[in-house]
Amino acid sequence: MKLMIVDDSNIIRNRISRIMADAKLPEIEIIGTASSGTEAHALFQTAHPDIVTMDLTMPEMDGVECTTLLTNLDPDVKILIISALSDKATAIQALKNGAAGFLYKPFTDDELVNALLELIEE
């Protein structure tokens, strides 16, 4: 399955990439990263990922808005929100807008791998 990583933080994008490389999961291939919702929208239309990790707090277009855009383009895409926003209302709103899962920052390597595996096994 093709994975796209969306986060405005360099170090988080790199960390997710590195964790996935270390995990050596043959079923997941990283096809690109985006540092904003706008970039993610453009990349999504050319790379057609199956799964996306999505930050919420980003400039210009936030992660909830971007999730809505991407799920409108492809209702089958599985989006894992990765955010520090820990209130219930934010998680509910993200799920209502098409996200398939939610992982809170800060996260460990194992938590990320398990969250993605759960997502693709659904």
Partner: protein, 153 residues
């Protein structure tokens, strides 16, 4: 408008402690919060999150470059450019304030991080009379979390 209570400040202490524990697998030593007037313990890099809606003010995480480089090493990040050190303070400030919303709720609206290299002189001008300062010691480094927030409603 009212100042945050000790219980409110405890939320930020738990959040910063949890961050270090989760990322480094090692507990940081978190000092007791104290009220500071104009003399804030700032470091090389500072991440700032503005809060709005039912709250007003900002939260700052300020750390020396050596501590940030060490944290990036723990995260296996080899690019330790100034851009990534700024990214790190912004991300930590964002994580602490985001985690605090579990307690404060969605009506504590938080901004995207603003990142400052060098001493953040504007902080002294912007902050209210009483801001809480929390000192974080990890390995031999010392950083600060400054909670300069009031409750409006």
């Amino acid at each position: 408008m009212s100042d945050l209570s000790e219980k409110d400040i405890e939320i930020f202490i738990e959040a910063i402690g949890g961050y270090f524990k989760q990322i480094t697998q090692e507990a940081a030593s978190i000092g007791v919060a104290y009220l500071a007037k104009n003399a804030f313990p700032l470091n090389d890099f500072t991440g700032m999150i503005r809060v709005s809606a039912d709250y007003d003010g900002a939260l700052y995480f300020s750390a020396p470059s050596a501590m940030l480089r060490h944290l990036l090493t723990v995260m296996k990040e080899t690019n330790q450019s100034e851009e990534n050190l700024l990214d790190a303070v912004g991300e930590i400030a964002n994580t602490i304030s985001g985690n605090a919303r579990k307690y404060f709720g969605e009506n504590m609206v938080i901004s995207i991080p603003e990142k400052i290299a060098g001493l953040a002189s504007m902080l002294n001008e912007q902050s209210r009379r009483h801001a809480y300062v929390i000192i974080i010691k990890w390995k031999h480094y010392s950083a600060s979390l400054i909670v300069d927030i009031s409750r409006l409603r």
